[in-house]
Amino acid sequence: MLSTQGIYYSIGKKEILKNISIDFLPGEFNMILGPNGSGKSTFLKVFSGEIKPSKGEVFVDNKALSTIKKEALAKVRAVMTQQPELSFPLSVEEVVMMGRYPHFDFNPAKKDEIICAEAIEKMQIVHLKGRNYLTLSGGEKQRVQFARVLAQIWEQPASGNRYLFLDEPLANLDINYQQEFLKLAKALVQFKTVLVAVMHDINLAVQYADKLFFLKAGELVVSGTPSAILSEKIIKEVFDVDTRIITNPVDGTPFMLYV
């Protein structure tokens, strides 16, 4: 379980995050939603361990994050950021192998190579294996990065959970890959995985999320299952837009229309 307790974060006088306490449970697809500047990405950086909160603590399987070594954490926690860019040419295969870096010392073991091959297959990028990463399209890069992140936490740890955090993972994907991607991520959840994604598209989020967390101006406004909390009033409060919510005829989930 990933648990944030009383997280505050400020830059100078400006408070970016205010008193956020959330428990992210394994086996659920957790999604964080909110308007630009609501502190979503900053919050993700805090519970990923990239930045230290000004106040409060993050607990990973009941251990304080600040006491866990970076190297050890990297074996069970992977983060996909928005469009990482390479500064020099590397092949797709080499980029995916980076996901195994926390697991080997100098030369990759046979196991690492097998895992990379499987991750590459899973993301349907076998045909891109030898290509220079820098020449790929935005969507192809995204799939390569996801293969890298998958490879990083491919095996379930002997004890505890593995953690996968995604920061707006769908930004550059075509619609068919968006669906594919969310199905794949959701399938991971069954295997002792704590999955948290910062999302942009509310309807897509509702379709796949087990729990939604709405952030506004650095504060947690409301959280719960989509069908329980999604309402026209909440969307108005968080995003300041008028909407109508109907039932999605395909799967019965709530569906939002703009008016």
Binding site: K45, S48, E50, K70, E71, A72, L73, A74, K75, R77, A78, V79, T81, P84, E85, L86, S87, F88, P89, L90, S91, E94, V95, M98, G99, Y101, P102, F106, G130, N132, L134, T135, Q152
Partner: protein, 350 residues
């Protein structure tokens, strides 16, 4: 892929061997292979060299060529490390002030030690120059790095501009030292700010080679982490890399090897720029391959440049820094131009 790389390294090493043999053989006096063997034979039996050719080979040509090869390897390796650190292909020790700072540090010792008591000088001499060069180089690199860094990203424009300023300070400092100096040292300093191997000795070669060897092994250990840094600092840190520690350490080992080389042979620019760039296009950017390949190729290229320095105006000699700048600067301009055009398309190598 791996097979192709093995082949690549074999060819590279063969070229290096041929290059070294050529460099030892050609010069103001040419030396035949048979003379090289007999010189080594006489040396092994601790006899005196049989003739002037063997003496030239053992005492002048061989240490010079070897020092040159090691220096070329160091400068190219430094290019790889610094480009990885700055995440930018146009960085090299001559441009970001490392070499100029090191030259200044060394020149201070060079001039001031003239007034030292001979027995102190004898003890501190061989170590004081590289040590001061290291201090100067580290200070200069640190200034350029910290000033050009803006919000965790290195801005190329400010990097180059601050590099120019720090280089100017280093060079004017070296110039001032040469102004203070009496004639013999002064001549060395001017000569030295352009780079030369004319005074190469065996002890210089051994010190440089040992430093280069040790640092190469350390740097290779960091190759995986440097690869991760290619993704960006945040992503590298998610892969378990302590990026601040990595940057500190790489900067120190890089400055150490460049300073030692600069202390003995002066400022040689653009080597660290050309070699890694060409190799990235050939074998990609995996530092585990790029680092050793750059060192071998750098050794080849600098030996070739030194051969040019000795032969072009023979029997007179051109400072080698002039040759590398003459060839390297146009390539640098081309790189900048290319960078300008391709920046929007996602960078250099797309």
């Amino acid at each position: 892929m791996l097979q192709k790389n093995k082949y690549f390294f074999t060819v590279l090493v063969l070229i290096l061997i041929i290059m070294l043999l050529c460099a030892v053989s050609f010069g103001a006096v040419s030396i035949r292979i048979s003379e090289m063997f007999s010189a080594v034979w006489h040396f092994v039996k601790s006899e005196k060299p049989a003739n002037i050719y063997e003496a030239v080979f053992l005492q002048i040509r061989l240490p010079r060529v070897l020092l040159c090869a090691v220096t070329g390897a160091i400068l190219s390796a430094s290019g790889v490390l610094m480009q990885g650190l700055f995440r930018n292909p146009i960085v090299e020790p001559g441009l970001v002030g490392t070499s100029a700072g090191a030259a200044f540090g060394a020149s201070v010792v060079f001039v001031l030690s003239a007034g030292m008591a001979p027995h102190i000088k004898a003890i501190t001499g061989p170590f004081l120059v590289p040590l001061f060069a290291f201090a100067g180089g580290l200070l200069a690199t640190y200034i350029v790095y910290s000033l050009s860094k803006n919000m965790r990203k290195v801005s190329i424009t400010s990097l180059l501009l601050i590099g120019i300023a720090v280089n100017a300070i280093g060079l004017s400092g070296t110039g001032f030292m040469s102004y203070l100096a009496r004639d013999p040292q002064a001549r060395s300093i001017t000569f030295w700010s352009l780079g030369t191997f004319s005074g190469a000795t065996w002890s210089q070669f051994f010190i440089t080679a040992v430093v280069a060897g040790i640092i190469f092994i350390i740097a290779l250990r960091y190759s995986k982490q440097l690869n991760a840094l290619l993704l960006g600092e945040e992503e590298a840190s998610y892969l378990g890399v302590d990026t601040d520690r990595l940057k500190r350490r790489v900067m120190i080992i890089n400055t150490a090897m460049v300073s030692v080389a600069t202390a003995f042979v002066g400022v040689i620019s653009f080597m660290g720029l050309i070699v890694p760039h060409v190799l990235r296009l050939l074998i990609g950017s995996d530092n585990k391959k790029l680092l050793p390949a750059s060192m071998i190729a750098g050794a080849v290229l600098l030996t070739l440049a030194d051969l040019g320095a000795r032969l072009l105006l023979a029997p007179a000699e051109i400072p080698i820094g002039i040759i590398t700048s003459f060839v390297g600067a146009p390539i640098f301009i081309l790189l900048l131009k290319k960078f300008d055009i391709l920046q929007e398309k996602g960078g250099f190598y797309a």
